[in-house]
Subunit: 328 residues, 6 copies
């Protein structure tokens, strides 16, 4: 099976105009950006399916790259959210590995291709930052961490995503947190931003609770603040962060399948990741379920690419990336 | 005069795919959803009137129904905003009564048709949830409550709507709260979300104050929180809640004639209704002045249909609807 | 050189339907609204430059005027944000001076035309309210204040705008605060709303700090509140306020080149100006970098025109404009 | 019953900026432009009814007026389609009578109001040019010609419109030609542009043929040319021309409910009316079923307003309007 | 391998609301409509690939079905293009077989699935009418005719589509006519509508000519007329007609990848198929490369569904479908 | 004064991906494509001026370049409109000289800059193909031909453009043909496509006729055909062709200020230029008044870029460009 991600197509820029990696075997990077345009094999709900063509997250990786160009020439500027250089004066090698080619593969093959690509990146010592498809993407990604645990998985999401299966499929965007919880190398889990009538039933809620998932409602987060919420973060040597864009507030992320008011805002999101990076290593991050065709004035893609830069900044400021910058 | 609401037109779903009621005489429901596409007989202001066709709330009931489909299959899921089943394990019978046919009637006839439809629904013991036209709709609705008082009317709105008349008409969206206050069965009134240069003059403000209206500015609500604001709620056996969508913050309700920043947010709105339901029965709710042609990515319709579900949930959790659920 | 601003073009309304001033020599007003469609002579960044036509702030003055019509007939209504008449019962003479004709002039000529127009307005005793082009506009505006200092310049912006030059040009939207700081009649400076990876480098940050600029991060503003931030306001007899729309939160100002989540919200903005007006005279205000082609449902123009009314209200309530209203 | 058409609303221009007539009693004109926003009381077919709001011809009169502004200042220019002055050097008094107010009336009332307005205009000696709603409009219009026959009615349409009734209603856009044929003062009829699977069945075709209707297929018109088709025109002292925009080719009239390729083109349409004007007086013209919400770049409204000018030109060149022009 | 086409998805109507066929084994029909959303495995050219999501013909079958609803209730009306009943009084059994599910298959599998579905339909004695994907679709379709030749293939297209391979693939939209010509059961070929700078080089033109393809330029068709062009039609017992929508004039088919002015118009297209049906049996028809995301006001889908009805009409009028109509 | 055109901006492709010319002094080409984004200094008429931003032709050169990419890789393919290689087997050196920088110059300077750039190109022996701004562009272009006459200017336009001045300006899009006729090196003139109520009055028509202009109405062209119209072409050694896009039919060129139905179609346009090229040398061509913001699905830009290729092809087939192709 062919697992090599193809480079970003000619017409598109790379993420913040980072250098391209043509073959994962040759990867040398601190942070490896990779697009994984995965689509769970079930339909989105009415009324979205009446749109033509049906909106999807398949084009999200390239949409985020396109908008990230805004920041390409100011990466080393003074950043007020970090009180100085975004990368803390470090030399952060960001490389864009292009998109995994999943188009002509069965779903079982897709899951395997994704896991192998992640394994390759981790084998090269880089932290993967995944520009995701829908929020089924983390399930095969986390398969690739088998030799890189134990992990605490922190999810930002309006929904629990803890269904055992849906329409007979066990790896879609309603089930991936349950799959993650079943992996021996996933030691603990925190789920932040929960609100509203979600995709799960009482049994799924109880299943998550039974496995020790730390669940944080969006309203709690607003009321208590990031610092107090982080006190509940399970201790772990490494954290994997997975973001369903609908965990964010629709005023910063309208381009999602199921916008839910009352979500995580910009400073909460940034402070959460800063706080996690201060408590352990960031093993990887995915940003999923941006749906460009449902976006408003590209805001979701703009803000997602900005948040990803903040995440990289958090890794630099925590000392996880610590190569002295030549350009400083 | 023909007062029978017609069923929802064929091409449209019902609200959360609820069963239809073809004739109000046959209604059996806890909650009766009914569309009342009322339009006050005066023009909206420049620059809106330059749009072609002029935007209106006439199509709002069907727009809300269409977006409510998102939630149709997750009504009994675990809801994080309620800490369990949205309907508290009750069997809530929601029925969709379609839209009142107002198109070929004079305004005086329309007012009468609306009042009679509400009387019919109340006579059947159901709580009306009105998918409104513009915010002139509550005036004839409240006429229908003559035998169902005394009521405290709680209004969520950026504006006072207390003009005695406008362009010679006394029941439009600038006057309906004054009309309500004149009805003997309306015992008290609370107006929440007020802000900005509104439609009323000093005399209207003083008229409202003279009648004992409890006015709450949006900024007060944000600063003091829902709990402290609810301490000012007049005591009453029954509460009627009327929502002008521009009372909400434009980030969750951009699809209105007069968007006003700084409005009521999602959790405030939900907690307000929960709080009211905890203090007395909910006699009815209307959600008015959603203007689909001015909406952004359908957000207003999506969030409005979600809030309506929360209102029904509040009635179930307060015990107002208390039939044990068969499906539980 | 011809410096006379031309009146608003026939097809467009004036700001809140105020009377027009055909020649600045004849101006009699408390508040002189003037459009200055200035464009810095460098390109916006990728991906915006791929749009056709490239979005710009050139049409912003007329867009704001068009949306201000919403408020034209309710200026003397009861205003909940001011607890009474917006203009405090004063007779505020607002006059619309049209737009400066910059189209056929070189940039050096444009800078001179702008400064002279401002001088003319100030000479007539009116407070200029500038409907700006991009945020390079304040640089020539402030030149016109040479005989009207000392000023404290308060900037609302996500960015520092303190570059010495860019692409060889010293008066564009990346440099105007540095230019302002160099003017002898600008005695102090406060910069509010700073956040994210901005346009400046460490050296620019330090240059601003060295000159005593009081910098306030957006997150600080949210956490501490307006009152405590205003304690840091430099004392001055007069304040000039310059607003880059991207200083505001994108949920109220999406129509900007570089939307940055986490910005100043509606009540913060209003309270800031009220607070400043309470501490000294408002010498002038500009509202820049509204980009109509990037706006969402005209929200930025609607809210900008509303905020401008609030600013005028603040001047009336502080007593700066104190002519007793005939219409009261 | 109130039959007075209201003047064009403030925000809108009149047709080619012609003077307004505030009351029909005061009309002095050669050509009286009047908007009749009539809507047949049945729904358009799927898939149009899924659009929100449902597209209609209600705003067509004002859309045509708005686009006619393009021609307002060149009416007396050299016209290549007429080989000289469009109005043949005559002084043509065009007056815009505004729109009939049908909004708050029952359909039976609407039919009566329309007929009476036409009678008033004809009584003043002016030729009515109706900016129509849907193509049910001619039925009540022709009622108003009772004392102004005999007429030959010439219809430009893709469809026969000869149904006896539809959904129980006898005056909608599927029936109006049958209604016309029943009026004693309609002596003959020609139907041009017929094509495709139309709204009529065999029986309706045979009913039209039995009454002597001269039917011309669109393809015949293209193959034989206007001159030869006009040989079939029934002789009559006066001709009334009714246009369903879908009779025109969709490349010039895409903004219709049922676009049908292969329709009448610009020069055919112009030459048809020139030819008819050369054979008898033009008693009136209606231009119906322009649907602005379905239009493409306003082309239908632009071209419709241009064709109407050509029709007036045809009347001037034929000598029907023969007042010597003062401006010549 | 699973070859069963899935039924049309719930939210969508069938073609002209025809009955559905759930399993091809159970098909009983004269005309079997089937959607084949095939996509050639190469990218469309710049500037289309910059669009997000990239436009494609994948949603074309459902777009055509949706627009065909316009005609669903007038199929037996008097048709002016046929001078009577569209189906000549015959009882034409149209059945909609849904869409082939190609999504999770490799291209080689897709080609096989398509051929087998066509074989099944032909085995049931029905004429397939294929709602295509891009214009690579005919290649696998024609494979399915192995036992149903000899065929003359008539192509309507701006381009020759005679490349031996492109990007290593031999069955894409640049090669399918060459593939067809290689099939022993394709005896002759006519290519109509050719114009402009096409996809083929001189060698491909000469290869087509060498195999006896009858090539007709669009301009020839306009100048000589359909009748004289049909004199060049190769004699054959059966004709298969394949339509690339860009063969049609962009004024009736703007929704294509490569719009080319000067194409085949509505009456030419209709008369061509009528003429062919008069000379031999219609063995099948495909309508490909409608690209809904590039369409203008759905015109391409509307007109395509109408033309398909005309094609069925041509088969009925030629006597190919001759079951006496019960409904007559 | 700086007359050097700047190269196409980085983000944009060149015309058919031709090589760039960075300095006109270094130009070596048969055909020099150059963008001249000129805008006449008067407003377009109502209702266009109400659009925001006002549509213009300023971005037309880059819009045409972007769409020309469609043809970049098929230039040497078999072309059915030419019966072989588009360039007749010649080696045509097309070079893209970028856009003239007119933005910061007065109109008088702009006129001079344009004339000098054309003189430079002509001095290098290349044929200029101008991607124009509005149709005032030819006036300064033709100034540059002073030493390259005598010319016959052939205009394709709906309008005569023969006003002596408008709003005091003598070189705008209403006057440029009169300016051309005054140049001693313009010996004769033909104006094709005239129709409708144009911009000129009787006196302008007579002025054009008095100077011997050969005027051809659009309808004449359709009725007589290109061959017979070309019999009226003035004899001349060199022809300059100027195209106002509104001369073309709106079905192929909707993106213009003043769409006029009944215009020149694709084959007429192509055959006209072929015919002219057969009678004398083509001295230059401009394609003006494409207004991208008014375009429909980019059709005008697509077809304009295609027609320009046909024009180059006509020059190659006539033998005007006769360098043997190396690639043949």
């Amino acid at each position: 099976m062919h697992v090599e991600p193809k480079p970003v197509s000619t017409g598109n820029p790379t993420f913040v105009e980072a250098p391209r990696c043509e073959r994962l075997e040759d990867l040398e990077a601190d942070v490896a950006v990779i697009g994984i345009p995965y689509k769970s094999p079930y339909e989105v709900s009415v009324p979205l399916e009446a749109l033509d063509p049906a909106p999807s997250a398949l084009s999200a990786p390239d949409a985020l790259r396109r908008q990230s160009a805004t920041y390409a020439h100011s990466l080393r500027h003074y950043d007020f959210d970090f009180g100085g250089d975004l990368f803390a004066g470090r030399d952060v090698r960001i490389v864009d590995c292009g998109n995994l080619d999943l188009e002509s593969k069965s779903h079982e093959e897709q899951l395997e291709v994704i896991a192998r690509a992640i394994r390759l990146i981790l084998g090269k010592g880089a932290v993967p930052i995944i520009l995701g498809g829908d929020h089924g993407t983390p399930s095969p990604i986390l398969r690739g961490y088998e030799d890189h645990g134990p992990l605490c998985v922190v999810q930002i999401d309006a929904h629990l995503d803890y269904r055992d299966e849906r329409h007979g499929f066990k790896h879609g965007f309603s089930s991936q947190m349950r799959r993650a919880a079943e992996m021996p190398w996933v030691g603990s889990m925190m789920q932040i931003g929960l609100r509203g009538v979600g995709s799960g039933r009482l049994e799924e809620y109880e299943a998550a609770r039974a496995r020790g998932s730390v669940m944080v409602r969006a309203q709690e987060l607003h009321q208590l603040g990031v610092e107090r919420i982080l006190e509940r973060l399970p201790e772990a040597p490494k954290y994997y962060i997975t973001i369903d864009s609908d965990g964010l507030d629709p005023s910063i992320a309208p381009g999602v399948y199921y916008p839910s008011p009352g979500g995580v805002n910009y400073f909460e999101m940034t402070d959460l990741v800063k706080g996690i990076a201060g408590r352990g290593a960031i093993a990887g991050i995915d940003f999923c379920e941006v749906v460009p065709a449902l976006d408003v004035r590209d805001l979701t893609s703009i803000f997602a690419s900005r948040l990803i830069l903040n995440f990289i900044g958090a890794m630099a400021h925590s000392g996880q990336i610590d190569r002295a910058s030549a350009s400083k």
